[in-house]
């Protein structure tokens, strides 16, 4: 039984949305047992998407790094409850989202730098010549309201349904969908205006 549980999870490990629900639950079961290997595997699977979510919400690489670290600490601290989590992927995103919201709340009490200063998107490794596109897209995204940016990120990069986006961000499904649509519409308008 123990051997069965600690076997590595196969499949597209690098892709956050690529793991099946069973694989996620299996990974969380290993985490609940306090497996360090499972933590490493979780980092390999989830860190990029969690970091992206925190980066898009906070706009700061330092804060995003802190959020990811805190998510992993929470996972380790709450390992007893992990086996009860029904949707591990949404759970992780929810924890990361709430921590990002806390960062923003704390930051409102102290002066901060502009979101424009950081890149929210980068060119794929195979197409480095598209760095200019990435820079322009980052600036356009930075001009969107936080809520719309969150909805676009969760939809495009974590493959969440509107219902899941609503659960993660704490709003009704309809609101999540309308935030996404408004965000995309605004983005298209900005693209049209800036070209």
């Amino acid at each position: 039984m123990q051997k069965e549980r600690t076997r590595p999870i196969h499949g597209s490990e690098a892709e956050f949305g690529g793991l099946s629900r069973e694989s996620w639950c299996e990974l969380f079961a290993q985490l609940a047992e306090g497996s360090v290997q499972a933590l490493e595997r979780l980092y390999a699977v989830a860190s990029r998407r969690l970091y992206g979510l925190a980066l898009w919400h906070t706009g700061s690489p330092e804060d995003a790094g802190d959020v990811v670290q805190e998510v992993f600490v929470r996972v380790a601290e709450q390992r007893r409850l992990l086996e009860q989590v029904r949707d591990p992927r949404s759970w992780l995103l929810t924890v990361a989202f709430r921590l990002s919201v806390d960062v923003i709340r704390r930051r409102r009490r102290r002066p901060t730098e502009s979101l424009d200063a950081h890149e929210l998107l980068v060119a794929p490794e195979c197409e480095p010549e598209r760095a200019l596109d990435a820079d322009r897209a980052s600036r356009l995204l930075a001009s969107l309201p936080e809520a719309q940016r969150d909805a676009i990120y969760l939809r495009h990069f974590t493959d969440c349904t509107f219902k899941e986006i609503g659960t993660i961000t704490g709003v009704p499904t309809f609101t999540a969908a309308s935030r996404y649509r408004l965000g995309l519409r605004r983005l298209r308008r900005l693209v049209g205006g800036s070209s």
């Binding site: 970091y51 990435a134 495009h156």
Partner: protein, 128 residues
């Protein structure tokens, strides 16, 4: 599906986390694995025997107190009971007449044009 959606965002990617984050996050998580898990209020209440006992005692005390108040109020004179009804009869007849309010004459009310009352009175007459 994700790739399709990503293509709508010009096929761009989100930046990867910094290299040093892996070591930092995993070290913090491993350190947290060694610590006693941090529990919320309800979990602490559930897992701790003294707290569970204290909670039970408080609930029992509240239930017993409520029952005692209920029984005690039942044996005491009701606060809603009319004071005049419990008072000894007055010696002064004039004062007694003031205290004993006369009954409202329903016939008179009906004659005064209060149709609801008339209807009520008619119904009662028919019934009798």
């Amino acid at each position: 599906m994700t790739t399709e959606r990503r293509n709508q965002l010009l096929g761009l990617e989100t930046p990867p986390p910094p290299e040093e984050l892996r070591g930092r996050a995993l070290a913090a998580a491993v350190a947290a694995l060694g610590r006693e898990p941090r529990l919320d209020l309800w979990s602490r209440l559930w897992f701790s025997r003294p707290l569970r006992l204290a909670w039970t005692v408080i609930v029992l005390a509240a239930v017993v107190g409520h029952a005692w108040l209920y029984v005690a109020r039942g044996s005491a004179p009701s606060a809603r009971a009319p004071i005049v009804a419990n008072a000894p009869p007055m010696r002064d007849p004039e004062l007694q007449e003031i205290v004993d309010l006369p009954q409202i004459d329903r016939e008179l009310l009906a004659d005064a044009g209060l149709m609801v009352e008339r209807y009520d009175v008619d119904n009662r007459k028919e019934g009798s």
